[in-house]
C-alpha cells in the first residue's frame, strides 16, 4: 500500500501535533504520534543535581601541572637531548669540534669503546712527527736457480723527527739488514743510507731471480713520516714492490704502494685518518715515474725504498711514496726479470729483525 501525498505544511502539522490541520488520509499517523507529544511533568532540579551543576559551571582554576609532567615538555626535552647528542656526536666524529672539546669528547668516548679522533688526528696536521718504529727487515729469497740470491734490504728505523721536517732533513736510523735468504747469502742487501723520515723498510723479499736481484722491501713498520701518516710512507714503500725485484716493473708497484696503503697502518689503530691522507700524497704519483725508470734491467738492489729519506715531514704517505719512487727508479741497469719474481722467486726465509726504534717523538702528540 502506498502512502498518500504529503505537503510540507501537513508534515509540519503532523510533527507539531496539530492533527486537525492534516489531510484525512494522514489522520492515522496523527493519532499514532499524538501520545509522543505529551511531556512528562517534572519539578525543579534536586538539590544534589543543582550542586553538581553549580560546581560544574563555576569557573575553576586549574593548577598548572608540573613542568616535568607535561607531555609536550617531556617529548620536547627528549627530542632536544637526542638531537644534541646526535649533532654533537657527528661533529665529534668529524673532528669538527674545538680542540678542547674534541679532546674531551675523544677521551670520554674512549672509555666506552668509541673511537673519536683527537684534535690532532686531523690529516692536515699530521706532518712532522717522527715515526715510532722502524720497519722490519725484509726477507731474502733464493733465486730460482740459486745462483743469484736476493738479499733482504735492511729494515728501516723510525726517525725522530718531531716537527714538520723538510725533505730529508731528519735522518732516519739505519735499517736493519735483511735476513739473508735461505741457502743463499744476501747479495743485494742495501743498508739504509739516507736520512729521512722514511724509516726504512725491510729487505728485499725476493732477489730470487738472478736477473732481478734483490727486490722489494718488505718493511712493514716503517718509521718516518708524520705522526699519523708518516709511518705509512716507509711501510708501503717496502711492501715488496718498491725494489722491483719481483717484477720488472717493480718500481712501479712499489711506488704505488708507497703512497697509499700503509698510511693507515702507522699509528696504532688510527687508520682512518691517515688512509684518507694517502690518496692525496704526492708519493703516490712518484712511483709512477719511477716505474718507468725501472722498466730497464731488473733491479739489482732492492729495499731502497725504505731507506731513503722522505722528502718532507709531511704525512707519511707522501714520504713513503716519494721514497719508494726514487729508489725504485734509481736502480737502473738491472735487467728486468724474465718473469715476475713472484712467480719465480720463492719467498725469503723471513723478515729481518725490525729496525731499531726510532727516536722518540719529541713533540708529536700531546
Amino acid at each position: 500500500m502506498t502512502a498518500p501525498e504529503l505537503d510540507e505544511a501537513s508534515a509540519e502539522a503532523l510533527l507539531a501535533g496539530h492533527g486537525a490541520d492534516v489531510p484525512g488520509a494522514w489522520s492515522g499517523v496523527a493519532r499514532l504520534l499524538a501520545p509522543l507529544h505529551e511531556r512528562p511533568t517534572v519539578g525543579g532540579p534536586s538539590v544534589a543535581l543543582l550542586d553538581r551543576m553549580e560546581a560544574a559551571a563555576s569557573p575553576r582554576r586549574r593548577t598548572a601541572a608540573p613542568l616535568w609532567r607535561r607531555p609536550r615538555v617531556v617529548v620536547g626535552g627528549v627530542a632536544a637531548f637526542v638531537s644534541m647528542l646526535l649533532g654533537f656526536g657527528g661533529l665529534a666524529a668529524a673532528n669538527a669540534l674545538p680542540s678542547g672539546i674534541q679532546s674531551f669528547v675523544s677521551h670520554a668516548l674512549d672509555h666506552i669503546g668509541i673511537s673519536v679522533p683527537l684534535p690532532h688526528d686531523h690529516p692536515s696536521i699530521g706532518a712532522g712527527h717522527g715515526g715510532s718504529r722502524g720497519g722490519a727487515g725484509g726477507r731474502g729469497g733464493p733465486g730460482p736457480d740459486g745462483s743469484s740470491p736476493g738479499g733482504g734490504a735492511g729494515g728501516g728505523a723510525g726517525s725522530g723527527a718531531s716537527e714538520p721536517a723538510p725533505a730529508g732533513s731528519q735522518p732516519g736510523s739505519t735499517g736493519d739488514p735483511g735476513r739473508p735468504a735461505a741457502g743463499d747469502p744476501p747479495s743485494a742487501a742495501v743498508p739504509p743510507s739516507s736520512p729521512g723520515n722514511a724509516g726504512g723498510n725491510g729487505g728485499g723479499k725476493a732477489g730470487g731471480n738472478p736477473n732481478n736481484g734483490g727486490s722489494g722491501n718488505g718493511g712493514t713498520n716503517p718509521g718516518g713520516g708524520g705522526t699519523k701518516g708518516g709511518n705509512a710512507g716507509g711501510g708501503n714503500a717496502g711492501s715488496g714492490n718498491a725494489g722491483g725485484g719481483n717484477n720488472a716493473r717493480g718500481g712501479n708497484a712499489g711506488g704505488g704502494n708507497a703512497g697509499g696503503g700503509n698510511a693507515g697502518g702507522a699509528k696504532s689503530g688510527r687508520t682512518a685518518p691517515t688512509n684518507r691522507s694517502a690518496p692525496s700524497n704526492p708519493g703516490a704519483t712518484a712511483p709512477g715515474r719511477n716505474a718507468t725508470a725501472s722498466l730497464g734491467p731488473g733491479n739489482a738492489r732492492a729495499g731502497l725504498a725504505g731507506t731513503t729519506p722522505g722528502p718532507t715531514g709531511s704525512p707519511g704517505g707522501s714520504s713513503g711514496g716519494a721514497n719508494a719512487g726514487p729508489n725504485a727508479g734509481s736502480n737502473p741497469g738491472s735487467r728486468p726479470g724474465p718473469r715476475p719474481g713472484s712467480d719465480t722467486t720463492p719467498p725469503g726465509l723471513g723478515g729481518g729483525p725490525p729496525g731499531p726504534a726510532g727516536a722518540p717523538r719529541a713533540a708529536g702528540r700531546p
Binding site: 500500500m1 504529503l6 501535533g17 501520545p35 509522543l36 525543579g44 543535581l49 559551571a57 569557573p59
Partner: protein, 190 residues
Amino acid sequence: MLGADFDEIVAAARLGSRSALAALYADLQPNVLAYLRARSRADAEDIASDVWVSVAAGLQRFQGDESGFRGWVFTIARRRLVDARRRRVRRATDPAPREVFTAIASDVDPEGEVVTRLDYEAALSALATLPRDQEDVVLLRVVAGLSVEEVGQALGKRPGTVRVLQHRALRRLATVLGDHRAAHQLADEA
C-alpha cells in the same frame, strides 16, 4: 522558551548561579526527559542528570542563541545516551523502569494510564520500524519539540536533509499504518 531573558540567564549560569541553572533546567528538562525516555526508558533520569551536569560544565564554551542552545543540549543528550548504552552493555543488567513503580504507587486511573501507556508504546514501536536516522528526526521533532534547524544542529545534518528524512519517515509510518489497517479489515471481514 526563555525568550529575551535567555542571554542574561545563560550569562548568570556561566557564573554558577543556581537560579539561572534551575531556569535552564526547568525550560528544557521535560523535552530532554521525554526524549531520553523514548530512547532509554530504564535510566532516562540518570542520563538526564548527566546531561545537565555536562551542560553546566560546557556553558563556558557555548556560544549562540536559544535555538542553538536547545540543539546543543540535545547533542549532549545523544552523547550521554551513547555513553549509557556502553555502560549498560558492560554492566549487563536491566533494572525495571522507574515508571513501573511510579504507576503502581500513583493514584491516577490505572485503566487510563494503561491505555495511555499502550498508545505511547505503540507509537514508539511504530517509530522503531523506521531507519535509525529517520527515527531520530521524528523523535527530536515530536518528542523533544525541536525545530528543523535545531534537529539539524543536534544531529549534525543540514536542515534540508532533516526535512527529507522526516518526510520519508512520515510516509513510511503511513504505509505501515495502512498495511495494518488493511490487515485488520481483512481480518474483520473474514
